[in-house]
Symmetry: C2
Subunit: 331 residues, 2 copies
């Protein structure tokens, strides 16, 4: 294990201390394991709360701030946050206007967020839940009934966060997040596995020269184990899988070319070039492109392509100001 | 080689195409191999040009934009850009106000930037050169006479870029970049090597369980090969080396906790927590902290800590608006 950690059991706590030290704009509670906007609760605003296993940074804590999430509940590595933890995040930011829970579709997350929402209801905080399930690779997987939630989470958090910042009511904010999920698809490819610190061995085996098409963000199996291809082949396979599920021709797209954690930025830009070529060859247009490691799987090498079919409204909300540790623009 | 590329010979060209596709704010010339602000030349403004081998992304092309660089000249992977390439970047952005060349101290870079500056002078474009040499690990190295230039390059590009945006004259912009370099120090640690695509094998060998203290950003040897330590031990060794060269007690610091390309963000935040502890224990304060993979070495695992002793003026310029692909705030 070539990891920059102190001890496997301290990974999340130590990372939260670093997050707190680096970002005065966040309020990190090491006991409750919550990360909250320093100015929360924002009076009259619908609050957005997300969370999930750690190991996908900057998702979600790096997206807490103006124009995006109000709070995040980071679980242990690749492990759902507890209901208590999600409840604490929800109560720290939720007021009269209510709270939207943005939940990636994994069994543990859906259960624990549901329980937290019921507990919040007991405290008279209204919660609307939005489930993210954008990964076209497989139906049902190691930790999932139905499709997995991956890259579209970023789209939903950004766009719903912008609408909440405009003062929209609970149903509208939840509604736009659902709309984003319905209009988004993702597909990921792994060139190497990753190792959960507490486990000490790779989540799966991948021979040198092989790749996993349709891999999940925890290294869950995808569709096929094949000979490693070029960046162009990897991108073409990813976009063909997405296109087969949601035709892209004629669409204007918000695109995320996402590094999985161990793939350097220069390679992510090579993938971005291939994405641009594929779209041009299939009558689709990337109206916005984000390139970087935003939804990661520890040190896994590989990339994921996510697209969202834009509308003028969604694009306006995408472009709206955001100020978080990992995503900042326009303010 | 688990790389997301098309062919080793196409790495830089393909990455530049992706950069162009993702960022309409940049003008990428694939022939001249230059990356230029789309609004360049900015009339009356001192222009900042940097460059160097590719493989360190987002350095430098990802720092081209408002408030930072006017142009970058990316060479082949770990290979200096040619004088022609640097000249093209210089002439694309340089006007009456002159140009500052920000040059990391490597033999090839210093030679080729010098030649480009002479050629620019023939075209009546004034060039001031600033040499970055902040890495305290070693004096002289594989590609270097004197100290290597690493993380302080980001500080200098940001701060001098902000002063140029304010309309300061050539000597002042070059002067503040030199001041930043003098007040900055860096130290890096590798937990794994990296592989230059064209070479196809690791730049150096590192047994599992070993680390290289004081490694360079091309995998050049550092001070010592030792048993891999905890994040805290790695950070403590890095800051002790910096402190021995430039005492940190009582200082207010701008801090960069930099991932080397293959180390995930959660581990970089663990290192950031350790940096915060070390500084608190030694009477120094991080007034600003940036955490992320900003000055990378392909897929090398490890981290680098860079610090700049702030002054009120440097801090004001650090906080000034910036709008580049990799660094954005405040506008």
């Amino acid at each position: 294990m070539r990891k920059l950690i102190n001890a496997p059991s301290d990974v999340v706590a130590d990372a939260l201390r670093g997050l707190a030290a680096a970002h005065p704009s966040l309020r990190v509670d090491p006991e409750a394991r919550t990360v909250v906007r320093a100015d929360a609760p924002v009076t009259g605003k619908v609050a957005l709360v997300s969370g999930g296993g750690s190991g996908h940074e900057p998702l979600h804590a790096g997206f807490v701030g103006f124009g995006m999430l109000d709070a995040a509940a980071p679980g242990e590595v690749f492990t759902s946050p507890t209901p208590d933890q999600i409840l604490a995040a929800t109560l720290a930011v939720g007021g009269e206007a209510g709270v939207v829970h943005l939940v990636k579709n994994y069994t543990g997350d859906t259960l624990n967020f549901k329980m937290a929402a019921e507990l919040a209801d007991d405290e008279d905080v209204r919660v609307e839940r939005v489930l993210l399930d954008d990964d076209v690779a497989v139906v049902d997987s190691t930790y999932t009934a139905g499709r997995r939630g991956t890259g579209a989470t970023l789209f939903a958090e950004k766009i719903a966060g912008a609408l909440a910042e405009e003062g929209a009511p609970l149903e509208a904010v939840a509604g736009v997040a659902r709309e984003v999920n319905e209009r988004s698809r993702s597909f990921g490819v792994a060139l190497s596995p990753c190792t959960v610190p507490a486990a000490g061995r790779p989540t799966f085996e991948l021979a040198d020269g092989e790749m996993e098409l349709g891999v999940g963000i925890h290294g869950e199996p995808g569709r096929e184990r094949v000979k490693a291809g070029t960046a162009r082949e990897i991108v073409d396979a990813s976009l063909a899988a997405i296109d087969a599920d949601m035709p892209l021709a004629g669409q204007e797209l918000i695109v995320l070319v996402n590094g999985m954690g161990g793939t350097p930025l220069i390679e992510q830009y090579i993938a971005a070039g291939a994405v641009s070529d594929w779209l041009a060859g299939h009558g689709a247009t990337a109206v916005r492109t984000l390139v970087g490691p935003y939804v990661t799987s520890l040190e896994m090498a590989g990339c994921m392509v996510s697209v969202c079919r834009a509308t003028p409204d969604l694009l306006r909300l995408w472009d709206a100001p955001v100020e978080t540790p990992a995503l900042r623009w326009g303010r």
